[in-house]
Point group: C2
Chain length 337, copies 2
């Protein structure tokens, strides 16, 4: 920058003003300076800029890991909105916690006190109460996706409602013996839980109650890894029992549901003739397996767009903490139930 200044016969301050579009500079010197900037391929040193401005110009996005559709879809939407609005261009900084609470807390503090971001979007993972307070005190907005906490801004899909509708549909169409496959609602040591599992369980129970069906532990299968193999394993467990479900709501996601279907097919169990299956997520596979999977769809793209816009609004002070948005999921009827 000094280099440019001397070449243009001005001082650093002037160059700085030109680059930040300060009105007070003459066309002439502005043009002269901009030309030199181009020639020298000058780009400002961001660290210096941030230091001087006390603003980071970045939005941090924290998720458990990069694979999996929520995180990547969201990131894509965020980038897209960023380009369309021209705000925070190349300023989206994703982090993954690798599912470890320690890494998460460390990271959140590092971001806050290291002034690494103007706002933090957390997808699926949840900050500790203590940290929320610290963010509040330092006026750095926390935007929670798929979670809700006092002192933050949140965007969720209505998990309870989604589970309720899936379960109710199964009751009406296939009767009262409904299996549920759901994520672990208790965390493992040092790991985070996704609260949506609890909410979906709640929706399932509510639907049973609404239809006067008693909750039965033996109809519940727990998925630890949300993976294909879990579906295989859990179906086998169900089949070993005396009481077998006539239908399964796989709240742990389509991937697990596909595991169930695959296993069923190998065992000669017809779907939905012998066993009806509903999944959750509406991932690509759902339309592709045979029979096609009936499932609950969440509008991830919509969430991403909202997340970006609300984050900007929060940074610029247009919305306050404890704003919560709840999106409704959608039951997509296909062949499996």
């Amino acid at each position: 920058m000094k280099d440019i200044a001397t070449r243009a016969g001005v001082t650093k301050a002037t160059v700085s003003m030109v680059l930040s579009n300060d009105e007070r500079i003459t066309e002439k010197t502005r043009d002269r300076i901009l030309k030199i900037v181009k020639e020298l391929n000058y780009y400002p040193n961001e660290s210096a800029q941030k230091l001087a401005l006390g603003k980071s110009n970045t939005i941090a996005v924290i998720g458990p890991r990069y694979v999996g559709s929520l995180m990547s879809t969201l990131l894509h939407q965020l980038e897209d909105r960023s380009h369309k609005t021209g705000k925070y261009m190349h300023g989206i900084q994703p982090y993954s916690t690798l599912n470890q609470t320690r890494i998460k807390e460390e990271l959140l503090r590092k971001i806050l006190y290291g002034h690494k971001a103007d706002a933090v979007i957390m997808v699926t993972v949840k900050p500790g109460e203590e940290i929320v307070k610290e963010y509040l005190k330092n006026k750095v907005p926390l935007i929670l996706v798929e979670n809700k906490m006092k002192g933050t801004i949140s965007i969720q899909v209505n998990n309870t409602d989604g589970a309720f509708r899936a379960t109710e549909y199964l009751v009406k169409k296939y009767g009262r013996k409904i299996g549920l496959i759901v994520g672990n609602t208790k965390p493992r040591e040092g790991e985070d839980v996704n609260p949506s599992a609890g909410e979906r369980l709640k929706g399932y129970r509510a639907a049973l109650k609404a239809n006067n069906i008693e909750f039965d532990e033996s109809y519940i299968g727990l998925s630890g890894s949300y993976a294909f193999e879990d579906g295989v394993k859990i179906l086998d467990e169900f089949l070993k029992k005396r009481k077998r479900p006539r239908s399964i709501f796989c709240a742990a996601g389509d991937e697990v549901a596909v595991g169930v279907m695959d296993r069923a097919k190998k065992l000669g169990i017809r779907i939905p003739g012998d066993l009806a299956v509903i999944g959750y997520d509406d991932i690509l596979e759902s339309r592709v397996v045979t029979p096609e999977l009936t499932t609950i769809r969440q509008r991830f793209d919509e969430m991403g767009r909202l997340a970006f816009d609300m984050t900007i609004d929060a940074i610029e002070g247009r919305i306050k903490t404890d704003t919560n948005i709840l999106l409704d999921p959608e039951l997509v009827l296909r062949e499996s139930a």
Copy 2:
């Protein structure tokens, strides 16, 4: 930091030294200072640190978009290696170009001249020749994944070989009428091409040649978006023609291959009885569709590990530019061919 210094009755310099594990500080003052650091929840201002050190402590990763298995798998591996080695912790900065050349070039310059990264990993996307030179001059290593260029370090899977083997397998087992579905080898205005498409086409042609089969344009289908729908559309096109393929090598990836199979199923075409299909990538769906998809597997996790280690080596000067690694893909035989 000044706060800490005064509380500890020392000066900023001493605190700084303690934090950077300088040997010269007494146990006593060190402990005293560290205690206060904990109490105050102090974390250094990174911008200030970077500015003073002239080092960014971050590795930039540039890809076309976040969705799609290569980018996310790679990122996961990078984070994982970073944690395991303790190097560049929380220092992986992913960027997406949204497939636009202009964004890409802008970004590369911004990173280079803004001193935003110690090295840049580019996955699938390719820098311009000019930019490579600039990086070279400034001694910032460029690591290319799925590409190769003079002046960079590269990691590739052998696309030509993968395509050759798939094609050859089809020739031997299903005869000479082999369709190819491949990504566009010509870029659209302002967009980047993935060079692997060209390489796979090359492998296909080589295999034909090796078996004395003449290349026939009407057996070629071009996929623009690498998506399920492309498979559907292209199969329909093949079927309209006079000459129909007996087998299809879907070099454009498993997702497209699944589209082909899905369409075939709906039309009553048996796989592999009437039409054999081989995909590329070995994504999750491949094991799940009926019949299970025969495909070419690329070791993305291995690539990620390698990418991280080589990047570190490059930064620390242990490997030089124009180091190229070529990984062999693997033909995974399942039911569809």
